[in-house]
Symmetry: C2
Subunit: 401 residues, 2 copies
């Protein structure tokens, strides 16, 4: 080993946490209510075996090359048609495939902003998006959510202030309208419309992260924010929750060709694995998507029901929450002074993990809320996890010191 | 369509070209000597079908999840062992999988540098790396290559100047030591050793891009630059040339854990497709890699031979080149005043594409050299391509105006 001089690496990206603090405590036997993971049996393994074989045999020569095969266009066409159900009218050349939605968020942030530009988010907000905005060196402000989602009235007041020069105008507002991660709620249709109007009026973009839209427990779809403002909304969704995360495939919809071409430039790996695109294309072509989705939704709804019942049973009136009508997450609020970071510390010891609230806020301080994922564990395990968590909580209430 | 106000997108990344200019002219019937693509029959399609099936059936539940399965560690172990043949001693935790080498170059550049920092490259230099450095907003200087690779003596003189404050010290020097893209040459062992010494002496990093190392036509391997300076060399290689580009899998080797963890932070898609990693792991485990590689090398050597012979036959003494002893590319130099950009314009009309020299230089002006890929086309097509190209050239010599 040579005696090395000090070397200055990039001064950026120093203190960006990799993931929520809860993930570090995982071990065998842990009940992972932290994981926003699909449940393992939801994966269409046999169909993917068929499609991998089919894609390699029929399109292998192209699919293994840099430029790929016909599957890319077929996936775009599938997304185009599927998007119509979300009231999104789009051409395939306005869709870009990304290696997961987090990459899409990163590309959007770096395309819309320069370091120091302002971005507004919800409070609480998905920590993966926060990471992307920290990496883009954005200045962040957060606006609270209630049972109807983002408080768009407060956003409007802030935009009025920004227009008056009293605070920086944001380049975009990041919103997760359906089955919010972590808050579990939906943004009301009226607020969606209003938010789109504000985007035009104040010349900002809305970045609409719609990762969970397909996992709808009520069957009643609400139109996307994009449908109210296609020129000022960039829309993201993903195959991670409806096929599998391991395929690493998501998409961005954007009307502005300059934004898309800039995003392609900074997506330095080039195309998202074209072999995987060929496999997914084959899968979508040969399988009835609705038939695939229906048991998936049933599975998640049952897990949600079990979690809700267990919370009522074991916590009683000690906690409050909005019942999620879709998605993966339930956001649990404790009495004001509870410190869920300390609660996590103890909970992990008895074998239950969750993500403590502070991972979802800009301030990074302990909070009295936490995220539970009902997506990954089976029903019996979910009930057991809530029971254990409640026992830990009731044994000693972890107040903020 | 609403009447939109002007919106300022990121001021960065405006004028970064997507790819070499030659790619735009492709059409059916074109002889693509531009493409640095493996030849289609080199892909192990049947074995990959087996491995896709095997991986999904045995590890599907994990491989389709965010975090993936055991294949990730197996691939790292394969790379570790294989690297020993390149005189690289490394632990698996010093290896990071990336979605292609271009992504690795981008991550390294953004980790080692801040905007405005200096980076030194070869002239000519791989345009994909140039793009990454432009995106990282690096200040670039280029140093010529000769038949023994980068002129390390000129690099040393420049480092002496930089140490004296007469020019900025580079954060790293990007070098492609084996079967250079585009120049086709190898960096001599003596220069490798010297470059590593300079890296320590002047406290800069060497970024060693070894994409083509396995495609060695002589059987004689030279030790990597990394082997002479493991603490100050970051080493990149890839499965793109030895399995297939469409799997999008490459790796970075780096001794410094801080560099690796920073790279993981800015790799916003998370892990490179864990399903694909499982498939590749299964492939590497069940197939004899040397048996796979041997016909591949034979195939590329035959193509190289045909191209070299055709150049002698159809160009005679009009052009000069170093015979590549491996890799994909042959770098052809024309008489001084020839403008290969104009030659390309005419050549495409008769159905032959290549990449004109200017794509590989910082100055971006027409040059008298060009890159031919012998990797993609079969032997008959290569001969036909060179014949047509020579005919175009001889009909009218395209001098710089």
């Amino acid at each position: 080993m040579k005696n090395l001089q000090h070397y200055d690496f990039s001064k950026r990206f120093d203190d960006v946490p990799l993931v929520g603090s809860a993930f570090s405590g995982e071990h065998p036997g842990m009940i992972p209510l932290a994981f926003g993971f699909p449940y393992p049996k939801s994966f269409p393994i046999d169909a993917l075996v068929e499609s991998a074989t089919g894609a390699l045999k029929s399109e292998g020569t192209q699919a293994l090359q840099y430029s790929g095969g016909p599957g890319q266009q077929r996936i775009l066409e599938w997304i185009r048609q599927r998007s119509q159900l979300r009231a999104i009218q789009v051409n395939t050349d306005q869709i870009m495939i990304t290696s997961g939605s987090n990459q899409g968020i990163d590309l959007v942030a770096r395309t819309l902003t320069d370091p120091g530009d302002s971005v507004w988010v919800e409070a609480p907000v998905y920590f993966g998006a926060l990471r992307a905005f920290y990496l883009a060196e954005n200045q962040l402000s957060a606006f609270p959510v209630d049972g109807d989602g983002l408080r768009v009235d407060l956003v409007e007041s802030a935009l009025i202030e920004a227009a008056a020069g009293k605070r920086p105008m944001p380049k975009f507002i990041y919103v997760l309208p359906n089955y919010h991660n972590p808050a579990g709620i939906r943004l009301s249709v009226e607020r969606r419309r209003k938010l789109a109007q504000l985007a035009y009026a104040y010349n900002v973009y809305i970045v609409e992260d719609d990762a969970y839209v397909e996992l709808n427990f009520t069957g009643e779809f609400w139109p996307s924010i994009y449908s109210f403002g296609p020129e000022r909304v960039i829309y993201l969704s993903t195959f991670s929750k409806i096929v599998a995360p391991g395929i690493r495939m998501a998409w961005v919809i954007c009307q502005n060709p300059d934004v898309l071409s800039k995003m392609k430039i900074i997506k330095t790996e080039g195309l998202t694995s074209v072999l995987m695109q060929e496999i997914v294309s084959d899968y979508l072509e040969k399988n009835d998507f609705e038939n695939h989705l229906e048991p998936l939704i049933t599975g998640y709804r049952m897990r949600r029901d079990v979690m809700v019942e267990a919370i009522h049973e074991f916590f009683g009136d000690e906690v409050s929450f909005e019942k999620p009508e879709g998605g993966f997450f339930l956001w649990l609020t404790f009495p004001t002074k509870t410190d869920t970071t300390r609660l996590l510390h103890e909970s992990v010891k008895v074998g239950v993990s969750f993500v403590d609230g502070k991972a979802f806020y800009l301030h990074g301080k302990p909070t009295n809320d936490l995220r539970l994922a009902f997506s990954f564990c089976d029903e019996i395990t979910i009930r057991e996890g809530i029971q254990k968590l409640a026992a830990v909580y009731k044994k000693q209430k972890y107040f903020i010191r």
